[in-house]
């Protein structure tokens, strides 16, 4: 029962606003774990704290037993933590292939190599094409990211994260803004990932959550409200009240 990712009473305040309060959260190895909660509950803030984009006002973050609280985000990424962003943060002036390649080169320690051109890195290029094919983006390899349709950009976000061969994958609303049919496809890709990759995803679409999540954590007003299996959460009255009870269907 080793937690691959763990937070210990982590908090973050912005002035007078306490966005995350003393959240102690554990992510088991190989988990398919969803983080849900109403808007403003602190989900993205929590992910930002875990990945190092924000420094906590208190508490600690542990990755595979190592205390990473004071480690910068790029070092955490090097230790196997990958994430996607809620608002697409890709590289507008790179092509799809280059976007994946830059992550691959970084992972393989080539980021500082300045003499041999990228075009000669056959191994990385082949792997990049492989990743794109898996996500049905192979045909767009030469397209500039900024002209790519939104749905494909969201998929590319995941491709870039996967290219780093992460041990922990944190997805912030991966299917945001995508029509239902396509979002199910994204999730089936995620479901097809090997168990060596532990996945935590923030999502608002309850259908997707209940279909793919094995465990769910509900966050409200910065604290954990409830935690359990899909069935337990669906049946929890408090959760209903604070989240599902807004007239939405489970």
């Amino acid at each position: 029962m080793t937690a691959v990712l763990r937070t210990d009473r982590v908090s973050r305040r912005f002035g007078a606003l306490q966005a995350v309060r003393e959240v102690s959260f554990a992510l088991e190895a190989g988990a398919r774990h969803a983080l849900i909660g109403p808007n403003g509950a602190g989900k993205t803030t929590l992910v930002n704290l875990i990945t190092g984009v924000l420094t906590p006002s208190g508490g600690d973050v542990f990755l595979e037993g190592e205390r990473v609280t004071s480690l910068s985000s790029h070092l955490r990424a090097r230790r196997g933590m990958a994430r996607t962003f809620q608002i697409t943060t890709l590289f507008p002036n790179l092509t799809v292939l280059e976007a994946v390649l830059v992550a691959l080169c970084e992972r393989n320690g080539l980021g500082a190599s300045f003499w041999i051109p990228v075009a000669r890195r056959i191994r990385e290029i082949e792997e990049a094409h492989r990743i794109l094919s898996d996500l049905h983006l192979a045909g767009d390899a030469g397209t500039l990211v900024r002209v790519l349709p939104y749905g494909k950009q969201r998929v590319l976000e995941i491709a870039v994260a996967l290219a780093t061969r992460p041990r922990v994958l944190l997805l912030d609303e991966p299917a945001a803004g995508i029509p239902g049919s396509q979002s199910a496809e994204i999730f089936s890709v995620l479901a097809g990932l090997p168990r060596e990759v532990t996945i935590l995803f923030i999502e608002h679409d309850m259908n997707l959550v209940f279909r793919f999540a094995e465990r769910i954590t509900v966050l409200a007003s910065g604290s954990i409200l409830a935690e359990g299996t899909a069935k337990e959460i669906a049946g929890d009255a408090r959760v209903r009240e604070v989240y599902l009870g807004e007239g939405g269907d489970a």
Partner: protein, 341 residues
């Protein structure tokens, strides 16, 4: 295991991207395109075809080199700097002072200037690279002004407002004297510029260059994939500093004079203008922009400077509104729209 992936050759994936600017960066290997060869052949031909213009031509080559160094940090890494002259001037004074004190071998002066430029860049990178765009702009502007003040105050050493002129620049390789006609100057400047260009070409097509473009577009994402963003930026800033220093040394050695204006705001601002008008992010923009700007300045040198200033300002404003990719960008966009892909 996946079946054999039919992997298209890298050049082919480049084709779908269109414009020649995109072309230069798309996963191209190091093959020289015909247009590039034509460009450099033409530059070399100037030596024979326009023997009376070689002084101007070497100025253009030097400014082109300077623009190249700014393109590295601006076009490729996204750092907007209004103080790049600090490294240029640092290199110029280094070479100038060496010559002034009797060390007249040009190549070693060039190398010393490159080291000076790199040192200044590295030293100031801790301030210049932190913060957002405005802070960077402010800091680079401020540091540039500071260097100017420093050189001004150190008049006994630098010659102050009068400039450094008692310079003996020896023969290049012990054979070629720097003649008044500019023959040696042009050959020297062109060869150095070409050599550095080839180096930059490799750098921008390497994984390092790709990571710079990623940093320019989205530094947060780059952190999230494990890139030490600050370190990369510091590295390219130092490299750009070295190159700017070399350009400064070339100026000092070919004109045998170093004035305070090598550190002035005008020089930084003009360079920025040249680069942007030419087009950032594909190396030739700086060279083309420098050529056009300096030829225009030369042809219009009889004009009241107020006119030059006004029309330049107007050109900038118009360029921002109507030609965001610079002159070459506008041409490229036309080319694309013309149906040729």
């Amino acid at each position: 295991m996946r079946a054999q992936v039919s992997e298209p050759p890298p050049a082919a994936t480049a084709r779908t991207s269109g414009s020649p600017i995109a072309f230069a960066n798309r996963l191209s290997d190091l093959r020289w395109r015909p247009a590039e060869l034509a460009f450099w052949a033409a530059a070399a031909a100037v030596f024979f075809v326009l023997p009376g213009q070689l002084v101007l031509a070497s100025q253009i080559a030097i400014t082109g080199l300077f623009a190249l160094s700014l393109d590295l940090i601006l076009g490729y890494a996204g750092v907007v700097s209004l103080g790049h002259a600090a490294m240029f001037g640092g290199g110029a004074y280094t070479a100038g002072l060496l010559a002034n004190h009797g060390w007249d071998e040009p190549i070693s002066g060039l190398i010393a200037a490159a080291a000076a430029g790199a040192l200044i860049a590295f030293g100031t990178s801790f301030l210049a690279l932190r913060g957002g765009d405005l802070t960077r702009l402010m800091v680079t502007l401020g540091l540039g002004l500071m260097m100017y003040e420093l050189a001004n105050q150190a008049a006994p050493v630098t010659g102050g407002v009068d400039g450094l002129s008692d310079m003996t620049v020896g023969k290049l390789f012990g054979v070629f004297t720097f003649d008044l006609g500019g023959r040696t100057a042009y050959a020297y400047s062109l060869v150095v510029t070409f050599g550095v260009f080839c180096l930059c070409r490799r750098v921008v097509r390497s994984p390092f260059g790709l990571s710079l473009r990623g940093i320019r577009d989205q530094p947060v994402r780059m952190s999230a994939i494990g890139t030490p963003v600050r370190r990369r930026l510091t590295a390219v800033y130092t490299l750009a500093g070295a190159i700017a220093g070399m350009a400064g040394a070339l100026l000092a050695q070919t004109t045998q004079f170093v004035g305070l204006e090598v550190l002035g705001f005008s020089r930084s601002a003009d360079l920025l203008i040249m680069l942007v008008l030419g087009g950032t992010g594909f190396l030739y923009g700086g060279l083309a922009g420098a050529a056009v700007f300096m030829v225009a300045q030369h042809l219009l040198s009889g004009m009241n400077p107020v006119y030059w200033q006004f029309w330049l300002g107007l050109l900038l404003v118009l360029a921002v509104f109507f030609a965001p990719g610079g002159i070459t960008g506008a041409i490229a966009a036309r080319w694309q729209k013309g149906g040729r892909r």
